[in-house]
Subunit: 243 residues, 2 copies
Amino acid sequence: MTKASDWDLLAVPASFFTDKGGDPDARQRLIMAGLEVFGAYNLEGATTRQIALKAQVNQAAIAYYFGGKEGLYMAVIEFAVGIIKANVLPAVIAIRDRDPVNRFTRREALELAQGIIRAFLGTLVRFPMASSWSRIVMREQMQPTKGFDYLYENVIQHIHRAFARLLADAHECDPEDPQMILRAHSLVGQFIIFLAGRETVRRRMHWQCYSADEARQIETAVSANLEAIFLYATNTPGKGNNQ
Amino acid sequence: MTKASDWDLLAVPASFFTDKGGDPDARQRLIMAGLEVFGAYNLEGATTRQIALKAQVNQAAIAYYFGGKEGLYMAVIEFAVGIIKANVLPAVIAIRDRDPVNRFTRREALELAQGIIRAFLGTLVRFPMASSWSRIVMREQMQPTKGFDYLYENVIQHIHRAFARLLADAHECDPEDPQMILRAHSLVGQFIIFLAGRETVRRRMHWQCYSADEARQIETAVSANLEAIFLYATNTPGKGNNQ
DNA sequence: TCCCTTCATTTAATCGTTTGATTCATTCAA
DNA sequence: TTGAATGAATCAAACGATTAAATGAAGGGA
């Protein structure tokens, strides 16, 4: 199970269910509609009228429940973070809580990394809304708002630290070594590209969206690259892989 | 040098220098200012007043030269594509023009792949404006306009095909095999993540921007992963790498 | 059971601001 | 004198936010 620690990764903000009283329906519908519209357009591009229309709610309800457009945007991000927390962070926590001295073997590290990616792609397929929040996250990277602080602190940072740890263990290095961190970024890029470069993937593969079958193909391809990265001995290029 | 073919990858649109007469200064300044503002904000977020102010040009000049905001946006994309064409596509053309029967060795493929990435990162460092256009490209992936058509046809597609060819040769597969294409996407993600996830990289590495030293570190890290992917024999996972 | 009050919620209408685009007079070199 | 280029002013449309009235369920006293 999950160890209770000072910052519980699986914790969900109280506002996640229903806070400040009110009609939970209107609130929830606004968040869902906001997720969709903020995902399709962006913070400036999305209009409160469009969101209110899709949520079947009066425009004034946005200010009433969330204080304004930006408030709704933050609520949408918190909602999305809650979903990711529940679905992909369990695979991360096991790595974080592992004793630093007790290193993973290469094969273990590989399988744990594959586990994170499987959880990630699985979430992408299970939730139709995942397509929306991935767009929001990517846009936050280009033009960070305070929403990125929340994303980084609650999700992104932990996933990256987990990969750095796995990579460092596999190559017998320090997880804080800049080169290991950079290689972890590069590794994360191997599957994030299927979100960040979705239109390119769509055209090259002639895909319409990511369903279960597409996710499986992606997982297979990424796993092949991952296997090489984890099992190939980089420090001694001529020697080959070992365990 | 470069072979002249039906679609010359290195060709630069006529509008690149000065077309439709007019004051080249005002035109050029508008494109530069547009690149900057469209990069910082996005198509909707950027205002014509802001661009005109930065270009030291009257607001009406945008409609005069480009027909409107969207026209300027397209001109900015064409300008950016011209820069990428001149700087990174030479490394790609050599691969495209190689006889399909005459396969690259693993070591050759690795070094050519590293060459593309070096050209890419080098461009990123040499041109301060690169930071702007990379944001534009990434946003086009989330919310494609007709600008993406131009980007894909003129740059993105060719880079991807080159990587698929290199990967297929190294693993003795068909470059059109879906798995190879997906692995190529994954491979491209390894360095695109430094554009797509720039805010994450910035926070993890405590970097302010990408200068020459940062680019060198990235290149080293990506090269290490690349080496594993190209030299490790995936099809026979227990056997290790060979040449 | 009935009426009345209370308060959270919803509604339609409107506010002031900003947007991209346009107009028309002016400038200036050919 | 001509025509491309610039400048200041202005247009209608769309934006987020706000307002005040309307709605309706909940609670309490007679």
